[in-house]
């Protein structure tokens, strides 16, 4: 137990980790504040204003068409109309119908908690997962590259235990931060919904669905932390080297995309990581291939589709976790520490 608490203390003392977490949280605060400021509650005043703007636009348009038509007729009478400026028949210049100007379009942005909150959970997850990955990598990577790990092993010559305790400390800290951030995030958006939109329709079922999305987000954050930790421990180096890994992955994915596109492979997205992240959070991503026509019974062309479900994401995640952590543990057991 004392090793665990010591590792938690060490994590808390690490300046880079602290700043990184702070930066991540500040980004989230900025997003939440921005959402609050750019949304408005829709009341009779906003509706009336929107109606007024729509009416004004309509009137302006009517006035403009009438002026144009008048010009057209005048030119026809004078007979000096430039050929391509006016139509043959001036009476074909008519104002658009009134319902082409809808008040709805002029309503300010408003935050519908029930509709939009799930999407914001993806934002929190993305930011926290990045923090977790880099933080986890730096936590153990710096330890390796500065010789701190060697010192610690002189005190606790149980390699696997030391490694796993560090991981445990990291994951519990991530858990704490994520849960805290999730609660504050929910509160912030509930406030945005209440004050700058609506929180209508929040049934128990809706809450449960958000809860499950939140849990999947939490799992993703922990996974990112564990993967960063495992990779840095395998490479025995800092976040810097890990940035390299990250870069290679991005370029690799990009290159893979290009190659697959040239080979005209179907559903290129099913080879790319972001699809699986999205599928995990949204439970399902439907890929469409417009190049393949599937005639529907109405005679329309329907795209070929493929579903990527959160289950397939979970398989991918589990495999990468096992490979990376397994590799880190194996190398911890086998390799000399010099």
């Amino acid at each position: 137990m004392n090793l665990y608490t010591t590792e938690l203390r060490r994590l808390g003392k690490r300046r880079f980790v602290r700043y990184l977490t702070l930066a991540g949280l500040l980004v989230l605060v900025a997003v939440a504040v921005g959402m609050f400021l750019t949304n408005q509650k829709i009341g009779p005043a906003q509706v009336a204003e929107a109606e007024r703007v729509a009416e004004r636009d309509y009137q302006q348009n009517v006035a403009m068409t009438q002026q144009f038509r008048a010009e057209c007729e005048r030119a026809k009478v004078a007979g000096d109309a430039p050929r391509d400026r006016f139509p043959e028949d001036c009476s074909s210049i008519t104002p658009p119908p009134r319902d082409a100007f809808q008040a709805e379009w002029h309503l300010p942005a408003t935050f519908e908690f029930r509709e939009e909150f799930a999407e914001t959970l993806i934002t929190v997850t993305a930011v926290l997962a990045l923090v977790a990955f880099v933080g986890g990598a730096s936590f153990v990577g710096a330890e390796w590259s500065t010789g701190g790990m060697m010192n610690l092993l002189l005190w606790r010559p149980q390699r696997i235990r030391v490694l796993l305790t560090k991981l445990g400390a990291l994951l519990s800290a991530l858990f704490g931060v994520t849960v805290l951030a999730g609660v504050l995030w929910t509160a912030a958006f509930w406030a945005t919904g209440s004050l700058r939109g609506s929180t209508a329709g929040m049934t128990a079922g809706a809450w449960q669905s958000f809860g499950l999305t939140g849990l999947r987000g939490l799992a993703l954050v922990l996974l990112a932390g564990a993967l960063g930790f495992g990779l840095a421990s395998l490479g025995r180096h800092t976040a810097l080297a890990l940035g390299g890994v990250l870069g290679v992955m991005v370029v690799g994915q990009f290159g893979l995309g290009v190659v697959l596109a040239m080979a005209q492979v179907r559903f290129i997205e099913s080879w790319l990581l972001p699809t699986y992240l999205l599928a995990w959070m949204n439970k399902k991503v439907t890929l469409q291939d417009w190049a393949a026509c599937q005639a529907s019974y109405t005679g329309e062309c329907e795209p070929l589709t493929r579903d990527i479900t959160w289950q397939s994401s979970s398989v991918l995640f589990a495999v990468s976790l096992v490979v990376v952590l397994g590799g880190a543990i194996w190398s911890m057991r086998r390799r000399d520490i010099t």
């Binding site: 203390r9 060697m150 092993l153 005190w155 010559p157 149980q158 000399d336």
Partner: protein, 346 residues
């Protein structure tokens, strides 16, 4: 060997037998760093661990502490086989291995406090050891801002933190100022006096000769000499003895007697130099039997440095640049290379 029983009786804090380690790298192939190395350190001693650069000292200590995996041999610390028993003996072994590195952004106090936490040592001990190594005033500074010697002091502090029974110091004097070296010397003496066993690897042989009770000399991964400092010196001065008698006139007679007893004698004006006797007592006994009384019997003094250079064949030769692995090559077929030198027993 009569030594075996004596050795078994004395408590060995550290035993290494036939240790082998081969480093393998994909590109450079293999490098045999330890080749059947033996070592033995008895309780309460300050033991010097000497050897040229690249001879395998750090490798030995790393292996002993479980950081690297040996290819063969056995090791025991405080009577327990390692690495198997390492988790249980680790609490009694304080060590620094070759200019230890610390996380640069933590203060000395945080660094030690975290180690104390991990090892279950009371936090009050942290300031004690920092005081001991003279870092009290700078305890809150980041390690990054420390000088080489200050880092070395911190390393020593970290090794002392658990108040170990066995203290292993790999080149602790590295970077210390003269005052620091002298402090280190008295610190080691005090620690040994308090019952701690200290193993110290160093290249400063004058220092080693001053503070160590016994030494092990390693060359190319093998032990080439070991034992109490005085004995190692004596053995490698060719067992030279200076003998004076009460009456100078008896010298020729004495020389005659000793030569017949098998010694090699070089007569001088007022003394004899006697070589190739197994022990000084032989001289006294031989002469006393003829009623000749010895007024002085001294081993010829050589210093550790020349013995070291001779044993490891690393003395500089004018006009040559010795490369690091050019040390003495011990004939592998003859088994224990130190037997001919008497080892540590005698």
């Amino acid at each position: 060997m009569p030594d075996v029983t004596r050795e078994a009786e004395m408590a060995a804090v550290l035993e290494i037998e036939g240790l082998r380690k081969t480093y393998r790298s994909r590109r450079r192939g293999t490098r045999q760093a330890l080749d059947g190395f033996d070592m033995r350190v008895e309780a309460g001693q300050v033991h010097g661990f000497l050897g040229p650069n690249g001879s395998g000292k750090t490798t030995t200590l790393r292996t002993l502490l479980g950081l690297i995996r040996p290819n063969g041999g056995r090791m025991a610390i405080l009577g327990q086989e390692v690495p198997a028993a390492l988790p249980s003996v680790a609490g009694q072994v304080g060590a620094i291995v070759e200019s230890p590195q610390f996380f640069p952004h933590f203060s000395a106090r945080d660094t030690l406090s975290l180690l104390a936490g991990a090892g279950g040592v009371p936090q009050t001990r942290v300031m004690e050891v920092l005081e001991l190594v003279g870092l009290r005033e700078r305890a809150k500074d980041r390690v990054k801002t420390y000088s080489l010697g200050m880092k070395q002091r911190l390393a020593v502090a970290s090794a002392l933190l658990k108040n170990p029974k066995l203290l292993i110091l790999d080149e602790p004097a590295n970077g210390l100022d003269p005052g620091g070296i002298r402090e280190m010397r008295s610190l080691m003496r005090d620690l040994a006096a308090s019952g701690m066993t200290v193993v110290v690897s160093s290249h400063i042989l004058g220092e080693v000769q001053l503070i160590c009770d016994s030494v092990t000399i390693i060359s190319l991964g093998r032990r080439v000499a070991a034992g109490p400092v005085a004995e190692v010196l004596a053995e490698h001065s060719g067992n030279g003895l200076r003998v004076r008698l009460e009456a100078v006139t008896d010298l020729p007679h004495a020389a005659d007697l000793l030569t017949r007893a098998g010694a090699r004698v070089t007569p001088h004006d007022d003394h004899l130099l006697v070589y190739d006797v197994d022990k000084p007592a032989t001289v006294t006994r031989t002469l006393a039997a003829a009623n000749l009384y010895v007024s002085e019997l001294a081993t010829l003094t050589v210093d550790l440095e020349s013995v070291f250079l001779e044993l490891t064949a690393t003395a500089p030769v004018p006009g040559q640049h010795r490369q690091v692995d050019q040390s003495v090559v011990v004939d592998g077929s003859s088994g224990d290379p130190t037997t001919s030198n008497g080892g540590w027993g005698v």
